[in-house]
């Protein structure tokens, strides 16, 4: 029931918006996403642990595709994340210029529905189908509402992701053939493949997620796409879509090819951290606020991936915890980008400066969002990063040291950005409005979530802890 509601509420509402194109599209979309959120919260309250299968139905049995939807703790966390994030994404549209809002919000709702499918799927092919489907509404969003150069950038984004997607499909088919046509994730996890197969199969499966996240050197689609996308599109990409990558690694790579993971672990961590440092350094050099957010996201994702591949309880839990924090952070940062653009008409930081004098409340909100970005203690990011570094420490001290530099770099570029936008001489010379009720309504809940979960991380860590432990024990059995 819960699964059906999660999949159908956004899908049907999206269909309604796209076909009927009512004038009040945005409120309808917002209410729909709040309804989904309510369902998600209900699912959270009624969750008692273990893997819950909500619905099981044969679809095309002959080739291993079954409609199995449910979640374990990590899956539920991702569902919660999707549920929490979408009202904010749709709400962010209120500050934006709206061109054909019905279509736009309809596509957003489709994306949400497909994302739910990804996080609920307990069958490898079903997962793949959801994974590819999310791409289509996002592709159309970027193509029709993106900024300059969108035609070339969108196609590049699409191709990159599909390269990964088909390689994933190849890996899944290979697994299916090995398992004799049973595509359920629980069945695939029981396969024991020879180590030599796992070495290459690892990349067939992981490539998709490496591109989706993205980690270095598969990242070259990301900054331009984030920059060019409409604000809400960037939010979808940064807050939720890249989490499909983390979740996919947890769900499809770890249980299926443990020997492959063991072999490539250090390589992946090293690549991810190179990306993290590189993204951070480039972010520092940006003069455009939105580009800065794009590169900072690249940097954060590198650390997320490194933490995940630490492959122990600290690392994996930390990574998923941080994934949640990162989603909240991305929403906050991008909303601020939008708020600045609304007021100054640009995202160029060179044209801003000294805005604190005009908009002290906005500056305060900005700073509060920022403390999460630099992982100050008592914020959500601090918990996540601490866990990840503790996990990495068990792998290698040197890698941890390398990873820690990203915190320093992160602090530098974030505070530097704040300085350039808010402090200093008043270059813009605009008489601009301070934070409005809408800005408060948007940012205060985000900041509250960050701080509450920074002090009291229990509820989320509890969700993640049990399945991660279970995964790790099942692997040591192999």
């Amino acid at each position: 029931m819960i699964a059906a509601l999660l999949l159908l509420i956004p899908f049907l509402a999206g269909l309604l918006l796209v076909i009927v194109r009512p004038a009040q599209a945005r409120p309808i979309a917002l209410v729909t996403s709040l309804a989904s959120l309510a369902v998600v919260l209900f699912a959270w309250i009624s969750y008692t642990g273990g893997t819950v299968i909500h619905y099981e139905h044969d679809w095309v049995n002959a080739w291993g595709l079954r409609l199995v939807v449910g979640y374990d703790g990590v899956g539920l966390l991702m569902v919660i994340l999707t549920g929490v994030v979408f009202p904010f994404i749709i709400g962010a549209g209120y500050g934006q210029v709206s061109d054909r809002p019905a279509l736009f919000n309809g596509l957003l709702l489709f994306t949400q529905s497909f994302l739910f499918l990804v996080f609920l799927a307990q069958n490898a092919l079903l997962f793949y189908i959801g994974y590819e489907l999310t791409l289509i509404p996002v592709f159309l969003l970027l193509l029709s509402w993106g900024g300059a150069g969108r035609r070339a950038i969108t196609v590049r984004f699409f191709i990159y992701t599909l390269v990964g997607g088909l390689s994933l499909l190849f890996g899944i088919i290979y697994l299916l053939v090995q398992s004799g046509g049973n595509g359920d994730l629980s069945a695939l996890a029981n396969l024991t493949l020879p180590a030599s197969t796992q070495l290459w199969l690892f990349w067939a499966l992981f490539l998709a997620f490496a591109i989706k996240l993205p980690i270095f050197p598969f990242h070259s689609w990301q900054p331009e796409t984030y920059y060019m996308a409409p604000l809400q599109g960037t939010m979808v990409l940064g807050a939720v879509m890249l989490k499909m990558g983390l979740y996919g690694v947890y769900k499809l790579v770890f249980p299926m090819v443990p020997a492959g993971v063991e072999y490539w672990q250090t390589t992946v961590i090293a690549l991810a951290l190179i990306g993290a440092v590189y993204g951070g350094i480039i972010a520092f050099r940006q003069t455009d606020f939105k580009r800065l957010v794009a590169f900072s996201s690249l940097s954060h994702v590198g650390v997320l991936c490194a933490g995940l591949f630490a492959w122990n309880a600290y690392g994996i839990s930390g990574s998923f915890y941080q994934a949640f924090a990162h989603a909240i952070l991305v929403l906050g940062m991008l909303y601020l980008v939008g708020a600045m653009q609304e007021r100054t008409g640009t995202t160029d930081m060179g044209a801003m400066g000294g805005l604190k004098g005009h908009a002290p409340r906005l500056a305060a909100l900005f700073l509060l969002v920022l403390v999460n970005a630099v992982a100050l203690p008592l914020t959500q990011s601090f918990v996540g990063e601490w866990l990840m570094f503790a996990g990495l420490w068990q792998v290698s001290g040197w890698l941890t040291l390398f990873a820690l530099t990203t915190i320093v770099i992160g602090a530098i570029y974030m505070l530097y950005a704040y300085q350039r936008v808010m402090l200093g001489p008043d270059r813009a010379n605009l008489s601009m409005a301070d934070a409005s009720t809408r800005d408060h309504l948007y940012l205060v809940p985000l900041i509250a979530v960050t701080l509450i979960l920074g002090v009291y991380p229990g509820p989320i860590l509890e969700l993640v802890d049990a399945p991660v432990q279970q995964l790790l024990t099942s692997l040591s059995v192999h």
């Binding site: 095309v60 080739w63 189908i129 489907l133 289509i136 193509l143 029709s144 035609r151 499909l169």
Partner: protein
């Protein structure tokens, strides 16, 4: 048998109807006749019984492919009503020739004797030579017809020589006898038989446009009238593949022939997809995409998998649906752009008719093989066959090429969803065309979600 008679009579009747020059009556008569043929085949109770002294057998296999061909021809005739509305003369002949060609198609998917294979291929091809040159005042159309005729004749020559050699080795034209011969031969060498197989396969490979026998297809696709291009890439392709598989399904293929098929598959996949990347003319793009799909279909041939007929049937059926719809959209867009065929002409489609744009999106995604469309299911099943039969590296090539394939379809999607910036009229969709496009667009999604609906 009755269906062959019915269709032959239908062709003749259509020719006579041409005397009255009432186009709607001709198309209506053609569609009625085809529906009749459909019912005859679907309701045939004498399945499996050999006909004409055992040279034809309308088994489940033949029946399924015949039904697909007839349905697609009906869709094309529906499109023809609008397509031929402005043509002054010889409309009846076009319909009649398509019906004759279809008869050839039915023959080659039901043959059990190699003579029928040859006759069927000729009956299929000769009307096409004429149809490709259907626009008599167009230079390109004449060029297409001539090229097709010349190269087709060569292929027929190959085929005939191959059949003669096979006869020389086995002393029979009967497919079952040849299969028995190949089984008895198993492992041994018989140069005459081997050469015969090579040449026969080359002759059939020409019809499915497999590399290196593909050279005719881009030029012919481009030059022929769009309706005929659609006919060639759907009905003719389906028939040729059905014949190809029927020919080799139960043969114990010698190692050299297997290698030849693998090489042909890889080359076809590679060339079709890579060259398609550089195309900006939509019809040429579709020609190379058709070659690329030939490659995927050939992959399903490799190894003797019991699921192959089913997969071929599904693949060809859904491919035909998507292709027919796209060619109709092309015709409409081309009309609005005053004869241009560059993929740019799709610009503004979404603004002028959102539903048609969405249907086009579905069809393109299906050709590209994106999940929940029929094209995905088809490709997926081909990959499964490839992997189960142990052709790991060929499957890897196919997957990589599927990625490349997505790129050129996405370029067309991008055009359809970009605002119009060209000269010319907006794209206008007549009700009947709207219906056919909608059927095709909806079908690829429905069949993608419920693949069980399209079964042999």
């Amino acid at each position: 048998m009755s269906v062959l008679v019915l269709l032959s009579v239908l062709g003749v009747v259509l020719l006579y109807l041409g005397l009255f020059n009432n186009r709607n009556a001709i198309a209506g008569m053609g569609i009625a006749g085809l529906v009749g043929a459909f019912v005859l085949i679907a309701a045939d109770r004498h399945l499996e019984s050999p006909l004409f002294n055992g040279i034809i057998q309308f088994d489940t296999y033949a029946r399924s492919f015949s039904l697909v061909m007839i349905v697609v021809t009906v869709l094309l005739f529906l499109f023809g009503i609008d397509y031929y509305a402005k043509v002054k003369e010889n409309v009846a002949e076009q319909y009649a020739l398509m019906v004759f060609s279809l008869i050839g198609g039915l023959l080659i998917c039901s043959f059990t004797n190699l003579v029928v294979l040859f006759l069927g291929i000729e009956i299929l091809s000769i009307p096409l030579y004429i149809l490709a040159g259907g626009k008599r005042d167009s230079f390109r159309s004449g060029e297409a017809a001539f090229k097709y005729f010349l190269q087709g004749s060569f292929a027929s020559g190959f085929l005939l020589m191959g059949l003669a050699l096979i006869y020389g080795a086995t002393a029979s034209f009967d497919l079952a006898a040849i299969e028995a011969f190949s089984t008895a031969l198993a492992g041994g060498r018989d140069m005459i038989f081997l050469l015969g197989l090579f040449l026969t396969i080359a002759g059939v490979a020409f019809k499915v446009a497999a590399v290196p026998f593909h050279f005719w297809s881009p030029d012919v696709y481009e030059g022929a009238p769009t309706l005929i291009t659609a006919f060639m890439s759907t009905v003719v392709k389906t028939a040729a593949f059905a014949a190809f598989y029927r020919l080799i399904a139960n043969l114990q293929l010698p190692g050299a022939v297997e290698t030849m098929l693998v090489v042909m598959t890889i080359c076809t996949l590679f060339l079709g997809n890579i060259v398609a990347l550089r195309q900006t003319q939509f019809k040429r793009l579709m020609a190379y995409s058709s070659i690329a799909h030939t490659g995927f279909l050939l992959l399903a041939f490799l190894g003797a998998d019991a699921r192959t007929p089913e997969v071929l049937f599904y693949y060809l059926g859904t491919y035909a649906l998507a292709t027919v719809g796209l060619f109709i959209v092309l015709t409409l867009a081309k009309r609005a752009a005053l004869g241009d065929e560059n993929i740019r002409i799709f610009r503004g489609l979404f603004r002028s008719d959102p539903w048609i744009a969405v249907a086009t999106l579905f069809m393109l995604l299906s050709l590209a093989g994106i999940p929940l469309t029929a094209g995905f299911v088809a490709k997926y099943r081909v990959f499964v066959i490839g992997l189960t039969q142990g052709y790991l590296w060929t499957t890897v090539v196919a997957v990589v090429m599927a990625i490349v394939g997505i790129y050129y379809y996405i370029l067309v999607v991008r055009e359809a969803f970009t605002a119009q910036d060209r000269e010319g009229k907006p794209i206008v969709v007549a009700p009947l065309n709207w219906l056919v496009i909608s059927i095709c667009g909806a079908a690829v999604v429905v069949l993608g979600v419920m693949p069980g609906l399209l079964r042999m």
